[in-house]
Symmetry: C2
Subunit: 217 residues, 2 copies
DNA sequence: ACATTTCAGTACCGTACGGTACGGTTCGGC
DNA sequence: GCCGAACCGTACCGTACGGTACTGAAATGT
């Protein structure tokens, strides 16, 4: 199952990183002591330090390790009709909700945020560049495809994506990060996704075509 | 200037809490050692422990102390016309952006998020209840006033507020929390606020009145 | 004037963790 | 069969921090 080059770590190292990730996901950052990692992964602290430098390096490696498995479904767009476009957007939205609500994402985001106070926030940057930015790119190409097909219109793809993100996530991510258990309303990712997509499309109506088939409003 | 009962702390204690807040704002959580607080506030560690129990109690007290100064501008709504309503909304949006982008808010949110991994996340709850919820209430009453005046329509005020929040904040809070310095685009809070309000109102058009003066669409 | 409380300042203790060093074992190359 | 590298397991060290104990001074009440 390794068609994925994972990252520039050896299989053994990835194994260790997976153990460390487990630790951190269900124990928070303070559970990630070098001794605990060594114990959980059946490796020596000396190896940890040889491989990852120091504790911060280990943290960064964990983030990189996890980011490496963010698969971007290519979003290869041939000609897609409006229904297909909506469906694609909704799938994206649902994926985004699922990822951000996941234990792993929450744990890693919490750690990166906690570390953001000092040293140029390398963890935060890592997360932004290898996680969010990848996802944003996927969404932007999808949005541009939709514009090319005349389903929506916007000036700046980044700007449009931000609006889409806001409509999908709203304050949910913040609440989740703060430890508030997902409300029932949050749980219906599919419904949330549909609502967000509807709102987004409503805010970005297509340019009027010569032969306007768009009936209502 | 103390018409504000602040919280249920003595003036001296509030003084100490302010010092502690300073520490934590420009040093992150790890800067908040009991010794450092004692030194910065010219008080003894023993007093700290007598007043706040332990380090976590101190943390909670800091959050409560800061939350106590969240002033809610009453939002007393007489009859307001559409322009006034938009303006009020925009002011709210700008305030929200300003608060969330502030050092203090970011520092406190980071700490609460970091602590969310364990013990039922009391800090997160504190922040949610005394911070965000207060703000949300202010916004909801404003939204309901707008609905009463027929400027907008919606079913559920909470639901509507979430959308408004999403349109205002989008992914900015997440980026800020992760330590990304505010982009230039972020800096124009007034512009962001206007855009968000326009989008929100567009998404919640008023019910058609008998004498429909609403031209377009 | 004296007793009591409060608190600053400091010294102290236990511990937990980051990081290092070392002995023993496995494994691949020659 | 020998050598060296990689590595596990563990023991070890220094330190920093949370929390407590003690002392002496200021304040407050009687």
């Amino acid at each position: 199952m390794p068609p994925v080059p994972d990252s520039d770590f050896t299989p053994r190292q990835n194994e260790v990183l997976a153990s460390a990730l487990r630790l951190v996901v269900d124990g928070g950052e303070k559970a990630l002591t070098t001794s605990a990692v060594a114990r959980a992964a059946n490796c020596s602290k000396e190896s940890l330090y040889r491989w990852f430098g120091d504790r911060d390096g280990l943290l960064a490696a964990i983030v990189a390790h996890q980011a490496a498995k963010v698969r971007v479904p290519s979003e290869s767009a041939g000609a897609l009709d409006l229904a297909e476009f909506r469906s694609r957007l909704a799938t994206f939205a649902e994926d985004l909700l699922t990822v951000l609500a996941g234990d792993t994402s929450l744990a890693l985001n919490r750690i990166a945020i906690a570390h953001a106070s000092r040293h140029g926030a390398p963890l935060g940057r890592l997360l932004l560049e290898r996680g969010r930015e990848r996802i944003a790119t996927r969404a932007r190409t999808l949005l541009e495809a939709g514009r090319d097909q005349g389903h929506i219109d916007f000036q700046d793809a980044t700007e449009a994506y931000r609006t889409l993100y806001g409509l999908i996530i709203r304050d949910a991510h913040g609440r989740w990060l703060l430890g508030q258990p997902p409300l029932e309303e949050d749980a219906d990712f599919a419904g949330q996704a549909r609502r967000a997509v509807d709102q987004f499309i409503a805010l970005h109506p297509p340019l009027p075509r010569n032969n306007a088939r768009q009936g209502r409003s």
